[in-house]
């Protein structure tokens, strides 16, 4: 009796793990399909970059994105500043594109919403991305938070809020927290008047973290953007 019960429990447990693995995989693939369905977008944005050694006011501009990894901020005569390399400001680049192992890591509440956490480990050894931990709102099928560990860029956290474009999996608001290195010029060169004060927004961040906050005002999705838009020359008059 006991043995049978134990067996039943073991089978049920195995089934459960298998089922949850299958569920997690399914969840990841569904989410990925939704995110990858956006081939390009043009969005009017407001961007706030908070890095310890940078003092940048809120930037308004148009953000162009084209899959897989092209991104440009157009500031209409102003300067455009974007993080370099992999730290692109779109969720698409934080999600492994190829085969990956997906593990269910339980549930958690984010902003009062119930989410399922999945851990994704890319099978590609050369990928910079080592691990992605995704908090998925299963009802809307969107990621509310992603934490990634990379080989070269440290850790990265992206928090997302959705509104009008939730059906496309595109956020209205995005907060990226990233690692930044320090910056220093020889003092004699610049002849500073005063020491700089740290950004108010960074008061709470420990160590050398920076944040980039983007508010998306509107999107135009899948309009077939030309590659030309993304060449650096296009932005320089």
């Amino acid at each position: 009796m006991i043995r049978r019960s134990l067996n039943t429990i073991l089978i049920l447990l195995c089934l459960a793990v298998q089922a949850s693995a299958a569920d997690a995989n399914e969840l990841f693939n569904t989410l990925r399909r939704k995110i990858f369905s956006v081939q390009d977008y043009t969005a009017d944005v407001k961007m706030r970059i908070s890095v310890k050694y940078m003092r940048i006011p809120q930037l308004a501009g148009t953000l162009y994105f084209k899959s897989p990894d092209k991104m440009r901020l157009e500031r209409h005569g102003g300067l455009s500043i974007l993080p370099r390399k992999n730290i692109n400001l779109t969720i698409r680049n934080l999600i492994p594109a190829g085969n990956a192992t997906v593990i269910d890591a339980g549930e958690a509440q984010i902003g009062g919403k119930k989410t399922r956490i999945i851990k994704v480990i890319p099978e590609d050894d050369k990928s910079d991305l080592v691990l992605a931990k995704i908090w998925v709102d299963e009802t809307s099928m969107v990621a509310l938070r992603i934490e990634t560990a990379t080989r070269n860029e440290g850790t990265l956290t992206m928090d997302l809020e959705y509104g009008r474009y939730i059906s496309n999996g595109l956020p209205d608001k995005l907060l990226l927290t990233l690692d930044v290195k320090d910056f220093r010029m020889p003092k004699g060169m610049t002849m500073d008047y005063t020491e700089s004060r740290p950004d108010e927004a960074l008061k709470d961040t420990k160590g050398k973290k920076g944040t980039i906050q983007i508010t998306y005002l509107s999107y135009k999705i899948n309009t077939g953007l030309s590659d030309k838009i993304f060449t650096p020359e296009a932005s320089e008059p």
Partner: protein, 279 residues
């Protein structure tokens, strides 16, 4: 008094040396603009090494606003010489020329004369800074266009939106006028002690150079006296390009400069009123 001031201004602006200053400002501005036109990109990428590692910055960074800042930074070390060229000459030059003798045999008080010299030097200084604003800011914007302004401090990268720049320059030029007035005041003071104009001009420059070095040396010994040296506060104009603008610090700097200016002027009056004119 009005007449005395008119005469002082007439004398200043009838002398070729006065226009040399305006010419030098123009020439240095041109040189920097030319250098930026040819080498601006490499200058910028050198300055932005640290930032460029992590951020992609695109757009017209080497614009008129950025270049004006570079020009100001460079020129505000040379302009004291140009101010001294005229202010240091106001009394000593007349002593050399012998006209101070004739001037003081006229029924004008020495206080009035000094005041007129101060005011005329001040007007000259203001005009010189306005001219600097025209050639540095006006011409640079004309050549390099407008754009968001990048300001690089030793530990900070500051971006100022283009529609947020002009008021800062207006304030910075006003502050520069104050700083240069302090220099003019110092020159006139030194001018009282000399019977030739080279002395006060060289001494003014010497004092400015030595104190500027003191202000910029990062040694604990000097850190205590730095707040009391006027050259430390002469770069207060840079504060207007910081974020947030250190209003309190700029106010203190302006106050220090005003105190120095008044002290120099007061000492000038005191010394000159007791001075035997032997030249």
């Amino acid at each position: 008094m009005k007449q005395l001031l008119q005469i002082e201004l007439f004398k200043i602006f009838r002398r070729p040396r006065t226009y040399i200053s305006f010419g030098i400002v123009t020439a240095i501005t041109f040189v920097i603009q030319l250098a930026m036109l040819t080498d601006g990109k490499s200058y910028m990428s050198f300055a932005l090494q640290g930032v460029n590692e992590q951020f992609d910055i695109h757009g017209n960074m080497i614009n008129g606003y950025f270049i004006t800042y570079i020009i100001l930074q460079t020129l505000l070390i040379q302009i004291p010489l140009l101010v001294a060229l005229v202010a240091g000459d106001t009394l000593a030059g007349e002593a050399t020329l012998g006209t101070l003798r004739l001037l003081l045999t006229k029924p004008i008080s020495r206080n009035q004369l000094i005041l007129a010299k101060f005011m005329s030097s001040f007007i000259y200084t203001v005009l010189l800074v306005i001219w600097l604003a025209i050639v540095a800011l006006g011409l640079s914007v004309l050549i390099f266009g407008r754009g968001d302004m990048v300001n690089i401090k030793s530990d900070t990268f500051i971006l100022i939106l283009q529609n947020d720049v002009l008021w800062r320059y207006a304030a910075a030029f006003c502050f520069a006028m104050l700083a240069m007035t302090t220099i003019a005041s110092l020159s006139i003071l030194l001018s009282v002690f000399a019977d030739n104009s080279i002395g006060p001009i060289i001494s003014t420059m010497g004092i400015v150079v030595v104190l500027t070095i003191l202000s910029n040396l990062d040694l604990p010994l000097f850190n205590h006296i730095k707040p009391y040296i006027f050259t430390t506060h002469m770069i207060g104009w840079k504060g207007f390009f910081d974020d947030p603008v250190p209003v309190r610090q700029i106010g203190i700097s302006a106050l220090v400069l005003i105190v120095y200016t008044v002290a120099f002027a007061g000492t000038t009056l005191l010394v000159f009123n007791k001075k035997d004119i032997k030249s």
